[in-house]
Symmetry: C2
Subunit: 467 residues, 2 copies
């Protein structure tokens, strides 16, 4: 009987047509501060609902929004849409406070720490619990809630289950680096994985060239004519002038490489920015002819290769390296989060394609203070709040990771218990599994999705048996 139920769900998902992502936009007033009574300020949190598949008070599939407009996540989490009809689920996508339209103080939300300081994961989780309780009132009987999320959203979905198990029955945390924090994993792992991705996408050629490019940049930009040349050759919006500009450029480059690895999907996408299929391979292919030892030649080729990322649409007029290359993701809010709570130690060294850089928390905190006027108390507040590597006391969580995702280094790659399960996909980038099915999907992702359906079905059966 149980096997039949799961088989039926699998069949229903299989025959499901590709969805149009249609939803109703709603808002709920939530408290600015769930954990004190110093003020009673409320603000509007945005969320999307699709109830067209929901019947007889089926489960709620709840996306725990992360650092961006909720549209981005609603439209890049096709797996949830594909599941909904078979499970007769209500689809809810909740926007994270301080992103998209969910700005507690409108455009003034980022003006100072008094206003921005409520941007924390704990407050976001409490928003979601608040919303879920409200949604629960729609239904006579209680609905099981399954949280979904990718990346930081996946961390939130796992933490939601860990901290509020009465509100959330299970969580699918895709590419959630909940261990990318002080003392839990080594700081170079992220950059090592990026290097690995570029390496296997290019028959081991690309990282060597990129590694050389850093000194080429130093050499070329050491003269004012070189800086002018590079600014023109790369079509930078603002010409490189000061040493600070060079620093900004190299930071930007590092971020682009990370994003290329993350979004190294087997088909064309428009998640972070518009990208071709296998963008790392495309990038490296364009770089290949850069075997000349001439710095200018290397950089010219690198500039061409970068346009895979910066100008896949062909519409980009100039490149603004002072802006985060994160496109649709909210960089202001995330920069604040990374400076306060989400402090993820990063470093690079001889074993990767980046310039050597050690992790220096003191300097990091100083820089953050300059930017945000917030004193960072400690690097490990996430570890303290969510318990570090201890997952023994929670349950009903799937942690999935693609090994080609740089964030998998901070992910959970082994089962922690019978019901805290790790799914590892060797040939997959950042939360590809949460996206809609695609003919180009590798079998590892197809199998993972089938596994999720089976596990979610089992969770729900257990729920209905117990309630």
């Amino acid at each position: 009987m149980e096997i039949t139920f799961i088989a039926m769900i699998l069949f229903l998902v299989h025959v499901q047509l590709i969805q149009n992502y249609s939803y109703i936009t709603k808002y709920i007033e939530v408290p600015l501060d769930h954990f004190s009574f110093t003020n009673s300020y409320m603000f509007k949190l945005r969320y999307f609902v699709n109830d067209s598949y929901w019947s007889d008070c089926g489960p709620i599939f709840f996306y725990t929004g992360n650092e961006g407009n909720i549209e981005t996540f609603a439209e890049n989490s096709g797996f949830m849409w594909e599941l909904a009809p078979a499970f007769r689920a209500l689809l809810v996508f909740a926007e994270h406070r301080y992103y998209g339209e969910s700005l507690p103080f409108g455009n003034a939300s980022f003006s100072n720490p008094k206003r921005l300081g409520y941007l924390t994961s704990s407050q976001a989780l409490a928003d979601y619990v608040y919303l879920l309780q409200y949604l629960g009132k729609y239904c006579k009987k209680e609905n099981p809630v399954i949280a979904f999320g990718g990346s930081y959203g996946g961390m939130l979905s796992a933490w939601l289950r860990m901290k509020y198990p009465s509100s959330v029955w299970g969580a699918v945390a895709s590419s959630a680096p909940i261990w990318q924090f002080q003392g839990l994993v080594s700081c170079e792992i992220f950059n090592k994985i990026i290097t690995f991705v570029f390496d296997i996408s290019s028959l081991h050629k690309c990282p060597k060239i990129i590694k050389r490019s850093w000194s080429a940049i130093r050499v070329v930009t050491s003269t004012s004519s070189g800086r002018r040349w590079l600014s023109t050759d790369w079509k930078l919006c603002k010409a490189l002038t000061t040493p600070e500009d060079i620093h900004t450029l190299t930071d930007w480059l590092e971020e682009v490489y990370g994003n290329l690895a993350m979004a190294n999907y087997p088909y064309e996408t428009d998640f972070i920015v518009p990208l071709p299929a296998h963008p790392v391979k495309v990038f490296c292919d364009r770089l290949f002819c850069s075997t000349s030892s001439e710095p200018e030649f290397l950089l010219h080729q690198l500039g061409k290769a970068l346009s895979v990322y910066t100008n896949y649409t062909g519409n980009t007029r100039c490149i603004d390296v002072s802006q985060s290359p994160n496109g649709s993701l909210g960089d202001i809010g995330w920069d604040f989060q990374a400076c306060t709570e989400m402090i993820m130690p990063m470093c690079s060294g001889d074993l990767d394609m980046f310039e050597n850089e050690s992790w220096n928390f003191t300097k990091y905190a100083e820089d953050c203070y300059k930017k945000w006027k917030v004193g960072v108390r400690r690097a490990d507040s996430v570890v303290l709040e969510y318990g570090g590597k201890d997952l023994k006391t929670t349950s009903n969580i799937i942690f999935s990771n693609g090994l080609l995702d740089p964030w998998s280094g901070g992910g959970v790659l082994n089962d922690a218990s019978d019901s805290v399960l790790a799914v590892v996909m060797p040939d997959v980038a950042h939360h590809l599994d949460l996206r809609a099915s695609n003919p180009a999907d590798p079998s590892s992702v197809r199998n993972a999705r089938k596994f999720y359906i089976r596990v979610i079905s089992e969770w729900l059966q257990k729920y209905y048996k117990e309630h």
Copy 2:
């Protein structure tokens, strides 16, 4: 082998001499607000440590301080002191923020919601986690932490395990009414249990007389001469004048009856206030001759009976009914907590010894706003934060309750799982089990303590096996 270990512990506890409660007072700087970055204010949280039994990094027995000076709890939790030598445990008693000396803004801490608003259970739990991490650094290997607490302190110890299972391995939550919140238990249960305690302590006589006393108070205080007479007869510090004064008096009386039931211990104590053994029986004995239907006579006898509570030492010169009768417990802070987060619906009716009073949240919230200038958003924030009656996903908690404790109505009286265990003591008042052993202890408490020792030993064995 395991049974031998437990038997040894039981033996060691048995031969343990009665302790002197000696401790070192320490302070730790903790963040005022653990859940936002709007300020970086830190304040000194007080805690007591006794490491004289601690060796080889044994467990930490951690009292989660509740609404009062931490001395009160350190000196009324003798069970922990009796356990420490056998378990070679470090004893820690942490003071709850906004009580005792742990005032974030000194004497100005209660001046307005901007300062007082950080008095919430979530912030208190985060203080304890912060302190525990600091304590953990004393030791090379990680120490298992067992939280202990009584009443609200018991709620905190259970919630600490539920929310921070990586910081706390197990919890003994004595007389912790974690379900005394909206929608979880009926609002009259507290007063029904008080009535039951007075009933069985007096061969069913006392509640009838008390029930009659309310109308006697109304009749007598309806004239100014009656108010004068009662004020003198009861030695009130401030003569009754206004209807508001009468209301204050009856509120105070209700609280005294509740406290008498809570502290209805089988031997003389000085916990809330100094009291004789079996204070409810002593109280009722003094009331017995009040069979006359004369209101003044009844009230005169009631005044005499009340002196069991108000003047057991014989040193009280007058009774100040405008002050909470809670003696050593911090009434200002608790009043704020009861008005914001710890909203426990209470009512009384025909089946108890109190005047009829329904639960009216709107009025309650209005009164709270008048007092504290804090808008109470909702009555069920505790239910939302801690998950209501759902205890299936937590583990390693003992909930103990005496059925003669009015708070047992909101307590956990049945096992929730293999490791969330309920201990019910039929003939016991408010967290008697946490107190030091006493020859007058009923066998239910003695057996309960043996059971705790066995369970804690099992928890610790499991911990050492897994770590």
